[in-house]
Symmetry: none
Subunit: 211 residues, 4 copies
DNA sequence: AATGAATGAGGATTCATTCAT
DNA sequence: GATGAATGAATCCTCATTCAT
């Protein structure tokens, strides 16, 4: 931040230094993500964060104005909206059952890859307003993903006209909670089979044919 | 303990004091529930808790060994397992659609009545091991509720044989997350309509008849 | 303390009750002695004292104005000055070596019997001014005991004229510290042999005869 | 740690800060010694300690993990074992009476210089296990000091063969208690004269020559 | 950029003591 | 006499944050 360079070689040097600074910053953020996820925001002290990153506590305040702002940075950096958006952009001419199963499992897998972040989303809602905001974005994005596809299939005549919002949220919510509980709970049905069967149920119904 | 009474009113006296103590205890627990739900466990100081209850902070430790133990007491006292168990014990000869809709909405309403507790379940998982344990109990109870009924209807031939665990959890999870998000989010579909439609979807499927 | 008797039978009753009250008081004192000795005055709470005596904490304040006053009562009640004074009143025509050995061992034994109290004397000097005061009394009494005897034997010509204060204190101090350290330390010489030899040394000297 | 210095004065800088930290630490320890000695460990709050040292209370915990550990540091730093060991290493060809008198008085003087520490040794035995441990070391060192010398003089024929442990402990214990009581009590005999006479008594005995 | 000394507010908890019953 | 509920001050300790180096 403080630029008091004298000789002309400074610009390049500054860039190098900036790069290093950015690296350091992301290192601090990534370390914080893990520690926050494991111990919780409030139960983690800045000293611990610094120790985990192998730096002095004072350095934390060079890169982040406050502990809160660090949480902000963590959540912003790891919000996997891009990955979410990238999902389901292909596969248009496949049957809905197949597409929804694949997408559902992708969604489930994505949440699993971001387990630490999910932990923060679930537990630190009250620590910083940015947390629920971003979590809401992600959830809505997930729901929208399904809904957009469903609307398309309704339009294509593959699905009957109905409130796709309900179906989309049924899918998204169930997958999210399946993910959230799959760590702590012991489930009878394995996630992939679960998701596949849920999709089938939603498409074809569980009522007996006669009824 | 010491009984040197002559008239029959004496025993009641001791009881009166005890009663008051019990009342006071529940008052402290109930106050704590609200404050924990609003501010979060870590962000709430014992001083605040005492102030909210209108007592000296020292008194908190007369009734509870620690702040942790208070949380324990809160969660134990308000775990609505009895209410959950009471649900769906009637209405056997009604169509599944109707029964599931009613039960689903009851479940949703019950979660709503326990909003403060739900807040704790969602956010304070890491504060005390009893929180996830009881939350798991409740969730499993809710799931079991649906599953038992579904199994029964499968046996009765109203539903086709399928993994009822999946359907039950789809219902329960969606309702739970519907509840959890209905405060912070703004939904297009109203909860009751949502639940009703979800039940219909699950029973009859959303696929176009031709498919 | 509060006397509001109406009928003439009260005096006798009061006496019975007083007796019981005195008993209770000494019970509380004796319990306190043990707990204070074991845990130290500051580290012992009134609640613990009450629990150890099997009564409610409030009752402590019926019998003692404060925790300090309880310590006072403890020290006063158990100050073994009478026993000390009773020592060495006999045995006038025996050789000094024998008498001093017996008395020294008696003194040592007496301190041993009062181990709890000794603990308080050693550690709680700063807790209440009465503690060092009484301890000084006891110590001086012990010293005086020896000195009186020594003076008498000097007068009788059995001992040579010298500063008996020095000899008396050498004896008393050594025995006291022997006692104080005998619990925590591991000594080579056993107390009785030690005291006997010390007396011999003091009487006859350890210098070689030639010198 | 980070060395990006050009001129040779840089390394010293880091050392300067470290030096200051060490100084600060000893300052805190020394202040604590005085306050603990005056008020007692339990009766002294960390706030007082900090105030006495003119620092914020939080700083105490930067240097010491706990109040207990501070006491540990105090006792360790001021345990005058080195000084004790240095005593009596000379003067081999002087008469025992002279040597013992000088050493006894030195020992007494040393204890006097460490009055604050002695206070802690006497009163805070129960506050932390390190206190009695170090005190035992010191006492044993003092005893050993005398005993080694006595053994040597016995071997040299100046003293008659006897249990030197008894004589050594008589000397050491008496001097220690003389020191401990000389503050609170009012003695007739002055310490130096007392010690000299005690040595004489121990060497030559107080029994009348005829006996 | 990096360190860690220094601060002071605030947190959980303990405790002597009082008081209504 | 006896109980234990109630008080509030005080205690140890933690922590986010600042700052000189």
């Amino acid at each position: 931040m403080t630029e008091h360079s004298i000789n002309p070689s400074a610009p390049k040097r500054a860039t190098q230094r900036d790069e290093k600074a950015v690296e350091r910053r992301t290192q601090l953020i990534d370390t914080a993500l893990e520690v926050f996820a494991k111990k919780g925001f409030d139960k983690t002290s800045v000293r611990e964060l610094a120790a985990a990153a192998g730096v002095a506590q004072g350095l934390m305040y060079h890169y982040f104005k406050s502990k809160d702002q660090l949480l902000e940075a963590v959540v912003e950096r790891h919000s996997f909206l891009p990955q979410l958006k990238a999902m389901l952009t292909t596969m248009h001419n496949e049957p809905a059952a197949k597409v929804l199963k694949i997408t559902g499992n992708q969604f489930f897998a994505l949440l699993g890859q971001k387990e630490s972040l999910m932990n923060i989303f679930f537990h630190e809602t009250q620590s910083h307003p940015i947390v629920p905001r971003i979590w809401r974005n992600i959830l809505n994005q997930g729901i929208g993903l399904f809904q957009t596809y469903l609307d398309e299939r309704v339009a294509a005549g593959e699905l009957k006209p109905h409130t796709t919002d309900v179906t989309a949220r049924t899918l998204a919510y169930t997958i999210v909670l399946l993910r959230a509980t799959s760590v702590a709970f012991h489930h009878r049905t394995r996630p992939e089979a679960f998701i596949n069967e849920m999709v089938d149920n939603l498409l074809s119904g569980v009522a007996a044919p006669a009824a």
